[in-house]
């Protein structure tokens, strides 16, 4: 059902360059978001911990899954950052870090510590300014390893609420508990949510969920409280590799494009952006990703569409159906009037 998509303007579907302005903020700050570059994620889960601590999210059960390092399993009412671990039989590509150092005698190297310029003492682990470490091409990622010992790779990715341009959770919320902030993010007002649960199946990413003992729904706020005082969200702040980058969405999109080009040039053809395009089914995500495999491998939907795109068609069909019901009833009475 594509009819009328264009006429419907930017209300429910399609690119929307000014989400905050469209929601009634006349002088909104730039739209803020996350760019999660999974190619540098090391799976440390600092973001999960920082998020739980800053937002005082309750413990939600430590379950041993036995499937990977991932016992968190997924986003939910009490998990607003989730690090996915994927173990694959696939060549590393340009990520081969060359971790095997069979030819290096560490004890001999330790004995030489501090005795010459190429082996500075403790406290001087960084290479001199302006010089890359030996063997590493400056400003580049290591190229493919020549011997191709690359039978296994790990993918790690920190998932989060996408803060969609067209957010289904916000659209379907009957109480107005979910709202758009001046930063273009989507936040639940917990003093208003009555726990109807409509946003839960509406989210095309399966992010928001109901907290069982509480009855209300909870999800990432993009640290609305921190943003209000000019601080970056807790997860981005704690990320040791800058896999989670926070900033104005326009700037993040530029940075992400450059990063993908860099990875492609370095021999990682799988690198692709996810949720970055304003042309996609949700009008682009406020939190988008650089992935190294198809989205569904990470548990993300490959082509999410905001359900409200079809809502006008749904109302039309429901009105027709209501008319049909009325016609059936009239027909039932009209035949043999008494």
């Amino acid at each position: 059902m594509r009819d009328g998509d264009e006429d419907r303007g930017r209300l429910w579907y399609g690119p929307q360059p000014d989400v905050a302005g469209d929601s009634g903020y006349p002088d909104a700050p730039p739209r803020m978001g996350f760019f999660t570059d999974t190619s540098v994620c090391i799976g440390c889960k600092a973001c999960e911990v920082a998020c739980k601590e800053w937002n005082a999210i309750p413990e939600d059960g430590l379950v041993w899954t036995g499937m990977s390092y991932d016992n968190t399993q997924g986003l939910g009412a009490d998990t607003w950052r989730h690090v996915a671990f994927i173990e694959q039989r696939k060549p590393f590509g340009g990520q081969e870090p060359g971790v095997a150092h069979e030819d290096v005698d560490v004890f001999a190297a330790a004995a030489r510590l501090g005795t010459d310029a190429s082996s500075p003492g403790p406290g001087a682990t960084a290479p001199p300014p302006g010089r890359a470490p030996e063997g590493a091409p400056a400003g580049q990622i290591s190229p493919l390893s020549p011997d191709g010992r690359t039978e296994l790779r790990w993918l790690m990715s920190s998932d989060v609420c996408k803060h969609c341009t067209h957010a289904a959770c916000l659209d379907v919320c009957p109480t107005g508990a979910l709202f758009r902030t001046e930063f273009g993010t989507v936040v639940v007002q917990e003093d208003i949510c009555n726990g109807c649960g409509y946003c839960v199946p509406a989210c095309p990413y399966g992010v928001i969920d109901q907290r069982e003992d509480d009855g209300r729904v909870w999800k990432c706020t993009l640290c609305y409280d921190r943003l209000g005082v000019g601080m970056e969200p807790a997860c981005a702040k704690s990320c040791p590799t800058d896999s989670i980058q926070f900033g104005p969405l326009d700037e993040l999109r530029e940075r992400a494009q450059a990063r993908v080009a860099q990875l492609h040039a370095a021999g990682v053809p799988d690198a692709r952006l996810y949720g970055e395009s304003p042309e996609d089914g949700v009008g682009g995500d406020g939190a988008f990703f650089l992935l190294l495999d198809e989205p569904e491998v990470y548990g993300l939907p490959p082509d999410p569409v905001v359900t409200t795109r079809d809502l006008p068609a749904m109302w039309r069909h429901a009105a027709l159906a209501a008319g049909s019901l009325l016609a059936l009833a009239l027909g039932s009475f009209a035949r043999r009037p008494r």
């Binding site: 990977s68 996915a84 994927i86 969920d209 729904v217 999410p304 359900t307 109302w315 159906a321 008494r338």
Partner: protein
């Protein structure tokens, strides 16, 4: 990684399911349950994150919400029979229809409030009016409709204020069809594959199901001499419900599969048999009091089974990543990436 030894019996020491597959098509093949069913689409290979669902399944309690879908339909279509009976001078038909509508909508409201995570905040539903939220629209619809049906029923029971009662009956009949069909939009306006993909036909299925439920109640409660319209409505409603459901399943492709498996399958087969059987019974021998009662019971049960079947099929489609990933992947391929 553990060492694995290859023996004559296969690979020893292999830990299954540990390695996530790579890329779009590398996933496991899912085998269909329900022997004897003709597959509508071939089994699809797909990737997922350790088989975990992409979507969160609805948190709604089946008895509350599927029950509400049923009772809302019963009430909405009963209001039509009540008004029709009143206007055409069939008090024996109008009275049970009015009481049925009021009873069903009261139970609905109780179920809806009970399902809330914070029932004490149910009035927050009327805090805003949002056309983008079918639940908001529905709340306002019920806020207008429920008092009308209660007024109609109360004046019927009291036998006084007949003019007010007539006005309320007619007004509730105006809102009734909307109450019966908007619930389809309520389900469809989600990311749940088996609910969303049927968004064109589901309102018609629910309209037909509402008609059969209301005519079932009227057949069971009204004197056969006055129940003629209910018998006809039963047949028309059954035809609409069964026909629309068939069209819907054909149009849905892979996402129709949850309707054909497990508990939803049983419920929907029962619904089909009860609705068709009840309508046939009403048509042929609805003038016999006892057979009319049986037909009414079959129609009422059939409509309930349909709503529960649709509800559970949607939940099943949200729990299996296949129904999220495969149709989206196919859509991307059609678009040429």
């Amino acid at each position: 990684m553990s060492e694995s030894g290859v023996t004559g019996d296969g690979v020893r020491g292999v830990r299954p399911g540990r390695q996530a597959p790579t890329g779009a098509g590398g996933g496991r093949r899912r085998h269909r349950r329900g022997r004897g069913e003709q597959p509508m689409v071939p089994d699809a290979a797909f990737s997922s994150y350790y088989g975990k669902p992409v979507l969160k399944k609805p948190t709604w309690k089946p008895l509350d919400i599927a029950g509400y879908l049923y009772l809302g339909g019963l009430a909405g279509a009963s209001s039509l029979l009540a008004a029709g009976g009143q206007v055409t001078g069939r008090p024996g038909l109008a009275a049970p229809a009015k009481l049925g509508a009021a009873g069903a909508i009261s139970l609905s409201l109780a179920a809806l409030v009970h399902d809330l995570g914070r029932p004490a905040r149910f009035l927050n539903m009327l805090r805003v009016f949002k056309p983008t939220s079918p639940m908001s629209v529905g709340s306002w619809l019920l806020a207008g409709y429920a008092p009308l049906t209660l007024t109609a029923a109360a004046t019927e029971v009291a036998g006084r204020y007949r003019l007010l009662g007539s006005a309320a009956t007619v007004a509730s009949a105006v809102l009734g069809p909307a109450v019966a069909t908007y619930t389809a939009v309520l389900l469809s306006d989600t990311a749940v594959p088996s609910w969303h993909e049927g968004h064109r036909e589901l309102p018609f299925v629910f309209a037909g199901s509402a008609a059969t439920a209301a005519s079932g109640l009227a057949l069971a409660a009204a004197p056969p001499a006055q129940a003629g319209p209910a018998r006809r409505l039963a047949v028309l409603g059954a035809a609409l419900e069964l026909g629309a459901f068939r069209v819907m399943k054909r149009r849905m492709g892979l996402t129709a599969e949850p309707f054909e498996q497990g508990r939803p399958h049983l419920l929907l087969r029962a619904a089909e048999a009860l609705t068709a059987g009840g309508a046939a019974l009403a048509l042929c021998c609805g003038r016999d009091r006892r057979l009319a009662l049986a037909a009414g019971a079959a129609l009422l049960t059939g409509s309930a089974a349909l709503r529960f079947g649709v509800f559970h099929a949607g939940v099943a489609s949200a729990e299996d990543p296949k129904y999220t990933v495969v149709p989206q992947r196919e859509r991307l391929e059609r678009r040429g990436r």
